[in-house]
């Protein structure tokens, strides 16, 4: 019998529909897998077996009664810990929110519950989604299932690692500068960032409001599209959410057709600075698309080179304001300063923020506070917003020439835990290929393009589409995926976790 955890979400859904398995079985299988391997991977901050199994039982009962609630009803899912879940802890990877249980569900969680997906638990992440390695989690790093000594990327390393390690067929991530796509790239999984506003942000603990976007982490392009359809669509609780139907992403993923499509290679995001093995897999993938009838054009987006700088002004500026609410007054951590008899509100707040926030968070709060301060606003925040406009113009011009744009997702394969922890700039460079999409609000998808020759670790292929045309990237992604699977003879599987010997790995 096939191990349920090795199935994609679409395959599980198919077997649920044919009543070959039950949701309780599928959910229990993943809970068992989590119990077996998460000690090594540390993808989860919180697992909720009771809640997940209760939802699974309900999904089974409804299916038995002939009322299946969605294509993915009964398929279990993991949710990044930055998303508010009623009755389950939500910490955003920070000590500041240790033990906080939200009294409400994020809109996307409401939709997952309504669609009948059991929620396995909450996945690890860099504190308040700041970082590209999940090493900035206050609860310890996650490990890359391909090599436990390496990072699974970040900030959503927990979600991608959970999917890569077969602990969950589906996971929710959030992508502010690449936090869905970059972890997908280095864990050999699929990650999709929908168009800004395509999935409600209501209930997502904000990092940078104008950049944040929730989306799917999966092992196949079709799974991503199926999940996108469940969580996407307009929400009256989020005024920036797009008031239009979800693009036909599932249809596009099923058709997987690229004939006659113009695929633009972004000159500025490839080649120099990219690991040779990553670059090589990228070029081969491009050739596979050409073989399937696509036309390749080169496009230039000159202002993308300023994207990183603009991003690291806009993000901390918004974050400094968004994180101001963590002041020890109403919820979360409260620390009294040492040696003060009756501390003032300000003293308690300062002591709490000192103890509760990690270094990276403090670094960005200080950066953002400075960038917004009077006298510096125009030089920093104002200038960054202008760059943002130019990047959007570059995208618009590039999309005149090409239907979708492509690049490697991340410059390198997974780096070792600790390698870049003391060098924020090196860490920031990891998101150089993914950031422009967030600045412009366009959708992006990453799928595995193979293993780099030099280290045998996964490389990612990024596809960007015009805003609100998310279906284009799913169509191209599915076509490439099909070609690659044909070539590989099956999906890529992390070697260390491939067998049952996982517990014998010396740590």
């Amino acid at each position: 019998m096939t191990d349920i955890t090795r199935l994609t979400a679409a395959e599980i859904a198919d077997r649920l529909a044919r009543k070959e398995i039950s949701s309780v079985e599928a959910t229990q299988a993943h809970l068992d897998r989590i119990a077996a391997v998460d000690g090594d991977v540390h993808a989860f901050l919180h697992v909720d077996p009771e809640g997940a199994l209760a939802a699974a039982r309900q999904a089974d009962e409804q299916r038995a009664a002939g009322e299946s609630r969605s294509a993915l009803a009964g398929v279990p899912i993991a949710v990044k810990d930055v998303v508010a879940t009623q009755g389950q802890p939500t910490t955003a990877g920070s000590k500041m929110l240790q033990g906080w249980i939200p009294p409400y569900d994020a809109t996307l969680v409401t939709r997952l519950r309504a669609a009948g997906l059991p929620i396995l638990g909450k996945t690890n992440m860099d504190e308040f989604a700041m970082g590209s390695s999940t090493e900035h989690s206050a609860y310890g790093p996650s490990h890359n299932p391909w090599d436990l000594e390496r990072t699974p990327g970040g900030s959503g390393g927990g979600s991608s690692a959970a999917v890569a390690a077969f602990e969950a067929p589906l996971a929710i991530g959030t992508d502010t500068g690449g936090s869905i796509r970059q972890p997908a790239s280095v864990t050999g999984t699929v990650g999709a960032k929908p168009t800004y506003g395509g999935v409600s942000r209501y209930g997502l603990i904000a990092l940078a409001s104008s950049l944040d976007q929730a989306g799917p982490c999966t092992r196949s392009v079709l799974d991503a599209a199926l999940l996108h359809e469940v969580i996407g669509g307009h929400d009256v609780m989020d005024s920036t959410s797009i008031d239009a139907p979800v693009p036909p992403v599932v249809d596009a993923a099923r058709k997987a057709d690229v004939k006659g499509l113009r695929i633009g290679v972004i000159k500025e995001i490839s080649g120099e600075g990219f690991q040779p093995g990553v670059q090589k897999r990228f070029e081969e993938s491009l050739q596979l698309l050409v073989d399937r009838g696509a036309e390749v054009v080169e496009v230039s987006c000159p202002t993308f080179e300023q994207g990183l700088a603009a991003y690291y002004l806009i993000l901390p500026s918004e974050a400094s304001s968004n994180l101001a609410k963590f002041d020890a007054m109403r919820y979360g951590l409260r620390v009294s300063p040492d040696g003060v008899d009756s501390p003032s509100a300000e003293q308690v707040m300062a002591a709490t923020r000192d103890a509760g926030f990690g270094d990276e968070v403090k670094r960005r709060i200080i950066l953002g506070t400075y960038a917004l301060s009077s006298g510096y606003y125009d030089a920093y925040y104002g200038q960054a917003q202008k760059v943002r406009t130019l990047i959007a113009r570059d995208f618009a011009a590039a999309f005149e020439k090409a239907d979708v744009l492509v690049s490697p997702t991340a410059p390198t394969t997974a780096f070792k835990l600790g390698d870049k922890l003391d060098d924020p700039m090196a860490m920031y460079l990891n998101d150089v290929a993914t950031i422009p999409a967030n600045l412009a609000g366009v959708p992006g998808l990453s799928l595995p393009s193979g293993l780099a020759d030099e280290d045998g670790l996964p490389a990612g292929f990024q596809i960007l589409a015009p805003a609100a045309k998310d279906h284009l990237m799913y169509g191209v992604g599915a076509a490439l995926e099909a070609a690659l699977l044909e070539q590989w003879g099956g999906p890529l599987t992390p070697p260390e976790l491939a067998g049952d010997h996982v517990k014998e790995i010396a740590r």
């Binding site: 209930g203 007054m329 919820y331 606003y377």
Partner: protein, 502 residues
């Protein structure tokens, strides 16, 4: 906590001899929308603490604001009534600062892109002179929560054992109306300040966008005051007196600050730019927190909200809902009612325009309507510490009463007795008069014999009247009225007496 009351002040005349005052007024108005600015929570005043809250107005992690369209419409109507331009496109901004009663530690407000701007309000002073106050802008924002400091003697945070926060008010929509610097008011500056707030209050009431209750904080005024030496053109340093909550206090606070500034300047000192607190009981201001240009709110456009772009159709449609401006309405009614300027001002000050209008509509003469509402009823309400509206007296009752006087059924003192009965809940005026047997004696025979008896009993007085001292008849009239137990028409009594004696 000691309240400094030792600040020297210069006599007002001396202030004016040397300085020209410049004022800037900022008026916060809580809008009377059913729900909050950015969420669906109720805005009812006086609810149990923290019962009208949700993840959005509590600023819980992950919650997002959504703009209340009704609040935007109210703001636009206020702007149109203040002769302002309406922005075709504007945004909210975040004003970042830390305070325990502010859930997000930033206030969602408008900064350099207000919804309405560049208007004016004509303000009529007590002597009828009209002073134009330029409006710089009016913008939308959300209110903060309220702190309650428990344990200290002053109710302030200093010395308190602990503090409680009520977030019911957090997120209630506010419109802040900001004037341009008001110059040239001279000695009338305090009066202009009061008249501006009063006129604005009447306007907002007519717009029906707020209950404008200063004592409940739904309308609050911050008064900026500075002095310029006469002949100078450089603005002086200003102080901002916060949250002044009555019309009278606005006037007094401006005057006090003028006198205090002058005393400081005369002593060779300089004014510290700061916020000041107004003390109603002692009539002074005390220092609040220093406010300098170093205050850095780090404003930036609110990324959680899409811009507000009211269509021109909507603006035109809202323009069509504006009420007659209170000033024009007042002139129209004054002319229709034939009131003198003084009478009209009394009516305005008593807040009795609407009720007089209804009473006249119900059939009373304008003179009688004014007499009852601003006279007897206002006096009684004042004496009993009540509002006129607390009495069971309707415009229709007053009109009925006036009709009974006009038809000769009641005289003035009897009408007052009837009104007494109405206030006591004895029913409509006619019913009260019936029940109490109040009716002028219409029988001329009885009246004439009473007159004859009184003349006969007072030959000395009668002689005086015969000699031409007509005013002496008053004593006779009084006696006749007494004999008739008040139920006679005094004018008729007088006529009969004079008939007989002249």
């Amino acid at each position: 906590m000691s309240v400094a009351t030792t600040d020297a002040v210069l006599p007002y005349d001396e202030v004016l001899a040397k300085y020209d005052p410049v004022m800037g007024l900022e008026v916060h108005v809580e809008l009377g929308t059913a729900t909050k600015m950015f969420c669906g929570c109720a805005t009812t005043f006086g609810a149990e603490p923290n019962t009208q809250t949700c993840p959005v107005c509590l600023g819980l992690p992950g919650a997002l604001p959504v703009v209340n369209a009704a609040a935007v419409e109210s703001a636009i109507r206020i702007g149109l009534a203040l002769n302002c331009q309406v922005a075709e496109w504007c945004r909210f901004a975040r004003k970042n600062y830390f305070y325990p009663d502010m859930p997000k530690n930033f206030q969602t407000s408008q900064y350099d892109e207000p919804i309405v701007f560049d208007g004016y309000l004509d303000v009529e002073l007590d002597d009828g002179e009209v002073f134009r106050v330029d409006i710089e802008r009016a913008h939308m924002e959300e209110d903060t929560g309220k702190s309650l400091h428990v344990g200290g003697s002053t109710g302030r945070i200093q010395g308190a054992d602990y503090s409680l926060v009520d977030y019911n008010r957090a997120g209630i929509p506010l419109v802040e109306i900001v004037t341009r610097p008001i110059r040239g008011a001279g000695e009338r500056a305090p009066e202009v300040a009061r008249a501006f707030v009063a006129t604005l209050r009447d306007l907002l009431k007519a717009l029906d966008v707020s209950d404008v209750k200063m004592e409940q904080g739904s309308m609050r005024c911050d008064a900026n005051v500075s002095l310029m030496p006469k002949g100078a053109d450089q603005l002086g340093t200003r102080t901002e007196t916060k949250n002044v909550n009555s019309l009278r206090s606005v006037e007094r606070a401006v005057r006090y600050e003028m006198c205090r500034h002058a005393a400081v300047l005369e002593a060779g000192g300089s004014i510290l730019q700061e916020t000041r607190h107004w003390h109603e009981d002692t009539g002074v201001t005390t220092s609040g927190r220093p406010k300098s240009d170093a205050d850095d709110y780090r404003y930036f456009p609110e990324p959680d909200l899409v811009p507000v772009a009211p269509s021109r159709e909507l603006v035109d449609q809202l323009r069509g809902t504006l009420p007659e401006p209170p000033g024009e309405r007042r002139k129209r009614l004054q002319s229709a009612w034939g009131y003198s300027d003084l009478e009209m001002r009394d009516v305005m000050n008593a807040g009795a325009v609407e009720i007089i209008e209804e009473t006249v509509a119900a059939g009373a003469t304008p003179a009688a309507a004014r007499k009852w509402w601003t006279g007897e009823l206002a006096r009684r309400a004042n004496a009993e510490g009540k509002a006129v509206s607390d009495f069971n007296v309707t415009p229709a009752y007053v009109a009925e009463l006036d009709g009974m006087v006009a038809s000769g059924r009641l005289n003035d003192s009897m009408a007052r007795q009837v009104l007494e009965g109405v206030i006591n809940g004895e029913g409509a005026p006619t019913a009260v008069a019936d029940a109490r047997g109040l009716e002028l004696v219409q029988d001329d025979g009885a009246l004439e014999s009473a007159v004859d008896e009184v003349i006969a009993a007072n030959p000395d007085v009668a002689a005086k009247v015969r000699d031409g001292k007509v005013q002496a008849a008053g004593a006779l009239i009084g006696q006749v009225m007494k004999a008739m137990k008040g139920q006679a028409d005094a004018a008729k009594v007088r006529e009969l007496i004079l008939q007989r004696l002249t």
